[in-house]
Amino acid sequence: MRESWLLFWRNLREFWRVFRHNRMGMIGAFLLLSAVLIALFAPFLSPYEPSLVIRDATGRGLTFAPPAVHGPLGTDDAGRDVWTQLVYGARISLLVGLLAGFIAMFIGSLLGILAGYFGGWIDTLIMRVTDVLLVIPDLPLMLVLVATLRQMELKISPLVVLILVIGLLYWTSTARLVRSQVLSIKERQFVARARAIGAGHFHIIRRHILPQLMPLIVANTVLILSTAILIESGLSFLGLGDPTQPSWGTMLNFAFDRNAISNGAWWFYLPPGLAIVWVSLGCVLLGNVLEEMLNPRLTAHHLEGDVRVRPLEGEGAYG
C-alpha cells in the first residue's frame, strides 16, 4: 500500500500548492485551527481549573474583577477566571459541534446517496422525511426535544443529548445536496462503464460515486460544523447546555443570568461571543473556499487545462 500513501501525499501537495494562495481559505483555516489548538492545549494555557474561585489577599472571592485587576480577561460573578473558562469552553463547543456535525454529515450523505442512486420509492420516502424536517423550524424543534429529553431524567449527559439532537436533525440540507450530486454523477459515462464491466451497486457507490462526492462532503462538513456550533451555542445560551461543563454558549447564559451587562462586565460576555464568531467565521470561510476549489461543478478542475475536441457529430452531418 505504499502507492496509496504516495498518491495521497501527491494529491495533498497538489491541493496545498493551490490552497496556499487563497487568502480567504488561509484566514479561515487559521481561525479554525487556532481554536482547535487552544482547545487541545487548554491545560497548558491556563494555570487554573475552570471551576476554581479566584480569591484576593483576604480570602474573599474576586467577583466581577475587570481584566485590569485579574488575569487577561477578569473573573465572572462567582470569581472564576474567564480566560480559563474560555479555553476550556472551546473544548466543549468544538467537541459538540464536531460530533454533531459528523453525525449529521454521515446521515445526510448516506441518505442522499441511497435516495439519489436507487431512486424509486427509496428516494420518495427519504425525500418526504427530508421535506417534513425542512419545514419544521430547527431551533424550536431542537429546543423542545432537548428540553423533553432532559425532563425524562435519562442517565445520559446533557452534552450527549445536545450532540444527538443536533446530529439527528441537521442532516436534511446535506442529504438534498448529496442526492442532487449523485443524480448527476450516476448518469456519467464512467458509471455506465463500471456497470458494463459487471460491477455491483456497492462497488459503484464506493469506487465511483463516493470519490466524486468526497470533496463536497469535506467542504460541507466544515460548513455544517459552523452551524452545529452556532446551534449548540444557541441551545446552551437558552440554558440547555451542561452547567458543569460550560461551553461558550453556557458562558453567555451565565453572563446574562448574572446581569453581566447591567454590571458593565463586558469581559464576561464579549469573549465567548467573539469566540463563537471567530470559529463560525473560520468554518464558513474555509468551507466556502474548499467547496469552490474541490467541487468540480462550480469550477472546472484546476488541473483540467487541456483543450477538448468537440464532437464532430452535428446535425445534418452524414458520411
Binding site: L7, Q189, I197, G198
Partner: protein, 358 residues
C-alpha cells in the same frame, strides 16, 4: 461462412417511452414510444469487424448499450456463442416477467443453454464514445485498468494483477506501462485516454468488443492510430468488434462487413467492398456521395438528401426513408420493404431494388 457466429442478433427492438404531457394524461392517451432500435438483425463472426454506420440519432448507441446489457431490450433475441444473453431474457428466465403470449421465440428460448451474465460480461466489453467521460477522474490509470479484474475477482494476488495491467497497457500502446500506473486521466491526452479505455476493455481478454464511435471525439490526427490499434487487436487477439461510426470514410479500410442504419433499422448490410462498390439502397448512396474522395475523377455526383431525419417517435408509414428518398414511388409510402438478397452476403431493404436489381 458455415462457422457459428459469435454474436447473433435477431429482430432486436428497443423502444423508449416518451414522457407524457399532462394533456395526454388527462385524455388517457397512451404514452408515445421512441423506436430507437426497431427490428435489427445481424450476425458477427469470430474475429470479424462489423461496422454500423448511420446518422446521429439513428439508434447506434442504443444498439451498443442493449447488446452490452446496459439497457433492457424491448424484444428480439441476442445470442452470444449460441446462448441467450438479452437482459429481458434474463428476467424471463428468472420468472420475474410473465411470458406473454406471442412473445418472440419463447419456445426455443427455453431449450437454449443459459450463459451466466457475469460470464458474458467478462467476454464482452464496450468502448464508449467519449474518452473524457468514460474514465473516473478520481481513479488512477492502474485502478481503472485493473477494475474489471477486481470486479470479477480474476487476478490471483498482487503480482498477477500488476502483470496483467502492465500487459494490457502495453498492448494498448502505452509504454512503459509503469509510467502510467499512478497517473490520473486528466494528465493524459484524449488519444492516451482512449488507449486506457481500450486497455481496460482488453484486460479480461474478451471475445467481443463493442466500440461506440471510439474516435469521433478525438483529434483527427490521432484517429488513425486508435483505429490501427483496434485493427491490430483483432488480428493478434482474434477479438470480434462491432464498430459503430457515423463516418463512412473511416470504415472502408477497417471493417470486414458494413451495416448501414437509418432510423432504427438496418437498410443495407454486406461485405464492406460489396456495399461500397455497389451500394443499392438510396440512403447508402447518399452517404457515399458525400464522403470526400481524393481522386476528383472518381468523385460521384453528390446526392443531397431532402429534409431532416424524421424523429423516431413519428415514424413515416411504409419505408421509413421515403420522405427523404430521391427515388421514392407511391408504393414506398405504403409498404415497409423486406430485405432483398443481392448476394450470399449482401442484402438491402428497398422496394426499388426489388424491382430493378434482380
Amino acid at each position: 461462412m458455415t462457422q457459428e457466429p459469435l454474436l447473433l442478433v435477431e429482430n432486436l427492438r428497443k423502444y423508449f417511452p416518451v414522457g407524457q404531457s399532462l394533456g395526454d394524461l388527462l385524455l388517457r392517451r397512451p404514452p408515445g414510444l421512441i423506436k430507437a432500435v426497431d427490428d435489427v438483425s445481424f450476425t458477427l463472426l469470430h474475429g470479424e469487424i462489423l461496422a454500423i454506420v448511420g446518422e446521429s440519432g439513428c439508434g447506434k448507441t442504443t444498439i451498443a448499450r442493449t447488446l452490452i446489457g446496459l439497457e433492457e431490450e424491448t424484444g428480439g433475441k441476442i445470442l452470444f456463442n449460441g446462448r441467450q444473453i438479452g437482459a429481458r431474457e434474463r428476467r424471463l428466465q428468472a420468472g420475474l416477467v410473465p411470458l406473454e403470449s406471442g412473445a418472440i421465440g419463447t419456445r426455443e428460448q427455453q431449450s437454449l443453454p443459459r450463459l451466466s451474465f457475469k460470464q458474458f460480461r467478462q467476454q464482452a466489453q464496450m468502448i464508449f464514445q467519449d474518452p473524457y467521460e468514460s474514465l473516473n477522474p478520481r481513479a488512477t490509470i492502474f485502478e481503472i485498468v485493473a477494475e474489471p479484474l477486481v470486479v470479477h475477482g480474476l487476478a490471483r494476488g498482487r503480482a498477477e494483477k500488476i502483470q496483467r495491467v502492465r500487459n494490457a497497457l502495453e498492448d494498448a500502446g502505452l509504454r512503459p506501462a509503469e509510467e502510467y500506473f499512478l497517473r490520473y486521466p486528466h494528465e493524459l491526452s484524449g488519444g492516451q485516454r482512449q488507449r486506457v479505455v481500450i486497455a481496460g476493455a482488453m484486460v479480461l481478454e474478451p471475445k467481443l468488443l463493442i466500440a461506440d464511435e471510439p474516435v469521433s471525439m478525438l483529434d483527427v490526427s490521432i484517429r488513425a492510430e486508435i483505429l490501427n490499434l483496434l485493427h491490430d487487436l483483432r488480428n493478434k487477439r482474434g477479438v470480434s468488434i462491432v464498430f459503430i461510426t457515423h463516418d463512412l470514410g473511416t470504415v472502408a479500410y477497417f471493417a470486414d462487413r458494413l451495416a448501414v442504419m437509418y432510423l432504427g433499422r438496418i437498410v443495407e448490410i454486406g461485405r464492406t467492398a460489396e456495399v461500397l462498390k455497389n451500394p443499392q439502397h438510396p440512403y447508402t448512396r447518399a452517404l457515399l456521395s458525400v464522403v470526400p474522395v481524393p481522386n476528383p475523377r472518381l468523385r460521384r455526383e453528390r446526392v443531397i438528401l431532402q429534409g431532416e431525419a424524421p424523429n423516431p417517435i413519428h415514424l413515416p408509414t411504409g419505408c421509413r426513408f421515403h420522405p427523404r428518398c430521391p427515388l421514392a414511388m407511391d408504393a414506398c409510402r405504403m409498404t415497409d420493404p423486406a430485405y432483398v438478397q443481392l448476394s450470399a452476403t449482401h442484402s438491402t431493404a428497398c422496394l426499388r431494388v426489388e424491382s430493378t436489381a434482380l
